[in-house]
Symmetry: C2
Subunit: 516 residues, 2 copies
């Protein structure tokens, strides 16, 4: 067998059995080896940012890494933005980048570039494999590294000759030795219990949060009059009826500062210290008040559940009944950001995984979804636009259930090629494409940063309505059945139909134009 086959066998032996691929010439032996690797599912993507975002979504849902397959430096670069989001989501991801044959590197051929320098800002694990008989070991090491904790992007560069040269089949494939998660520190725990009892405290939760985590956190908070706050952009979190709901830290620094202004202590549980998403003139970057103490109880990717259980035990915090509220009602009339949110909430089946890149169009979503059917909710962890459709794709590959992507028009245009792979793989993804024909968030940010723009040139940089994008046609041209909803009834009906129909469906929701 050759190196490529050894690579695939090692991935499979370590339960990495999906590869989101956009291969080129230097990856052809990997592609050929798929034929001998029925345990590996190859999923073709037409753009690398789709492949990397899909691997992120797969990991958020399954907790396990998927592999990517990218083509040299340009392939890594095209996939980089969604790897950045995966890095900020602290998910495991095995990022395989093919490269020129080892001996060809001396010649600086047209496609050559410094791949290591491109990968370095992902701040994960990096190795260039140099010998076919080491490739299985390198692969197992990449899988192990991807798990962290915390989960990270492990980039394995595979020169073409390392793929194509022969290797002996070993008796067994090397295993990825996973590191244990750090124990919760007893001293930090005691300190946390003391401050919870005595000071105005916020538990700041982040990362992947189950309903059990949220229930435990609420027991702690109720027993101590403290608050449960969630980071603005968690990796994946349970929400909906029967699930305890944390406050979400506001995206807007001004509001977040107000939200935290009375806090004396913040206990970080799977979250980092919160800072402004951007800087704004005369607004602080740190969101926690200067005099407040910060206790770093659980690092991102750490054992949130054990820490929360320990707090509950130490405080003898009693159980709580789930908060009840009104089941959402299907809206009628005009399609607005309100009725959009109500339609999504009213129709949502139980167990749906939501990839939310609705941005400004989703402003009413969190409120509307509070007592919707229980669901899982994913967010734009790293701020690199174009995450929603790829992450929904990967989530659908990882899950047997339905995925709902809420995708604004501006964001959709970064990685719209994900729709084709949804169609090809017959994935149960409902995509709502939100058309407001504007970079609405930038209109909003323009004034926040203190810029004043009243002319036509600046207006044209924020308006995407000339020409109007036909979102539904962009989906159907890629094989995804599509429909356009121009009022609330049509959106409700389209959502219901999509949930009842296997395979992907695209719903263009035509909202009032947002501008200024």
């Amino acid at each position: 067998m050759n190196g490529a086959r050894a690579l695939l066998a090692t991935l499979a032996a370590n339960d990495v059995n999906v590869c989101f691929a956009n291969p080129g010439t230097s990856e052809m032996h990997f592609v050929a080896a798929l034929d001998d690797s029925p345990e590996m599912r190859g999923v073709l993507c037409l753009f690398e940012g789709v492949a990397t975002g899909a691997a992120d979504g797969f990991a958020r849902v399954s907790g396990r890494p998927a592999a990517t397959l990218l083509h040299l430096g340009p392939g890594l670069a095209n996939g980089w933005a969604n790897l950045h989001n995966a890095r900020r989501a602290h998910v495991p991801l095995v990022n395989i980048v093919g490269d020129h044959a080892t001996y060809h590197a001396a010649y600086d051929a047209p496609l050559q570039s410094n791949i290591e320098s491109l990968a370095a800002p992902l701040e994960g694990w990096y190795r260039r494999s140099t010998a076919s008989d080491q490739l299985a070991r390198d692969t197992a090491d990449a899988v192990a590294a991807s798990y962290g904790p915390p989960g990270r992007v492990a980039t394995l560069v595979v020169p073409a000759d390392v793929s194509w040269n022969a290797v002996d089949e070993p008796r067994s494939w090397p295993r990825a030795e996973r590191s244990a998660r750090a124990h919760v520190d007893d001293e930090e725990l005691s300190l946390s219990v003391r401050v919870l009892r005595s000071r105005r405290t916020a538990l700041l939760l982040g990362g992947s949060l189950s309903r059990e985590h949220l229930a435990l956190a609420h027991r702690v908070a109720r027993a101590t009059s403290s608050r449960v706050v969630m980071e603005t952009f968690p990796t994946i979190v349970d929400r909906g009826a029967g699930v305890a709901e944390p406050e979400r830290l506001n995206y807007l620094s001004e509001f977040a500062l107000d939200q935290l202004k009375d806090v004396e202590t913040v206990i970080l549980i799977g979250a980092r210290e919160p800072v402004g998403f951007f800087a704004y003139p005369n607004v602080a970057s740190r969101l926690v008040p200067d005099p407040a103490e910060i206790i770093d109880l659980v690092a991102p990717g750490g054992d949130v559940g054990t820490a929360l259980e320990a707090l509950v035990d130490a405080l003898s915090a009693p159980s709580l009944d789930a908060e009840r509220g009104d089941v959402p009602v299907a809206p009628t009339g005009d399609l607005t950001t309100q009725s959009f949110a109500a339609a999504v909430a009213a129709t949502l089946p139980e167990g749906v995984i939501v990839a939310d890149e609705s941005n400004t169009s989703g402003v009413h979503l969190a409120g509307a979804m509070r007592f919707a059917s229980p669901h899982r909710w994913m967010t734009l962890t790293g701020g690199a636009i174009g995450y929603g459709l790829p992450v929904a794709l990967g989530a659908a590959v990882a899950s047997q259930g339905r995925v709902l992507a809420l995708e604004s028009d501006g964001s959709m245009m970064y990685t719209l090629q994900a729709l084709w792979t949804m169609a090809r793989e017959g994935l149960d993804v409902t995509v709502v494409g939100l058309s407001n024909r504007s970079y609405a968030i930038l209109n909003f940010e323009l004034s926040r940063v203190g810029a004043s723009a009243t002319g036509t040139q600046s207006a044209r940089m924020l308006d995407i309505d000339d020409p109007t994008l036909d979102l539904a046609a962009l989906a159907s041209a890629q094989g995804v059945p599509s429909v356009r909803a121009t009022n609330a009834e049509e959106l409700v009906s389209a959502l219901e139909r999509s949930y009842a129909t296997p395979g992907p469906m695209f719903i263009e929701a035509v909202l009032p134009k947002r501008f200024g």
Copy 2:
């Protein structure tokens, strides 16, 4: 005024007056400043790879840099692949990347990453501006650096506060001090003349090649029984009736090795020593025979014209009449790679600029176009797929004439968002989208690298026909009028109509399916 306004004014003072932009929050002051900068044309792109490729195309046609405007590390990453192509094209490009405010960098906010590490593999010029009152100087330095020679990507990182802080308006804006091109070395020149007279010599031309350059090279060759060879992927080259035609170095290493096997000396004139695009088992990486001498007469981006004139003078090489041949005739019947090429050649108006990313579908193009109307031809210099539509967009902004993009379906899907900007700007671009429903080049490369793949998994990695992409619909959904041609007559008629109609037009050319 603020830093952003000073940046724009300095660009304009140095004849950089187009900016291909995909801005975010950290670039809002730049966007606002456009309203006070009528001398700067802002061109909005929906994806960063479109913006960078457009700046490449603008420079190839005009010889001048355009600016980009990108949003932090993820924006640079999304634009990186086409910057890599621009790097290999040796064109000037001013790459502006907004970043967090200087004081915000300490907090590692979600969008933060190591931008310098991302930019380093572009091997151009890099600077992070740190003070508003230095930004004009930094900008002029970036423009100067972009010109080289050779032309290069000059990346200027502009933190948000450097944009928004106030600066005094100077009496004049700093000027970009451009370095002179190196003189042609007399000794190398004499050596070249000697070997041209005495040994089997090939002139290897590269970069931007005008009809005058080609005519000079042919005079030298005719006078000395040497050969004129052009690198496989030049930046932009004149072709067609009345233009002397060099041999093109074959893309396939096996054929290129055969092409050069009898050569005793290679004189590099604006080209690097040719090497295999990829490595293949048992095929050499170097394409020039080992015993052959290589004379590096003009480096890429150097003064090709002066060197060729000097050779002509030294050799007293007589003028030549242009080679004549049959004017291409419009084809009829089935649409094939042959009739596609004939249709393009037969209908081509004079002066069209061609962005060629037809890949395997374009196999007959060079031959068919030999005596077509004179045109300029651009190629995929760096091998990073997805260059064609963006480069065509930028070429159209730089030119008053018609641009023709020949774009294969697989490649088109990397940067299809360029179509929207063509529609928005009303650019005279004819796009032929070549549908063969396959990564045909990879089917071909698979066997060349010695891989054998006979199973369904590998076949599915190379076949993009499930589902079939509706290329015409992808264009019309973005505002570009589109038509589908299923035979040669329809393609001829659609091409003629597009040339007679202002604005962009998309023609889907449905070729036989290529597979295996």
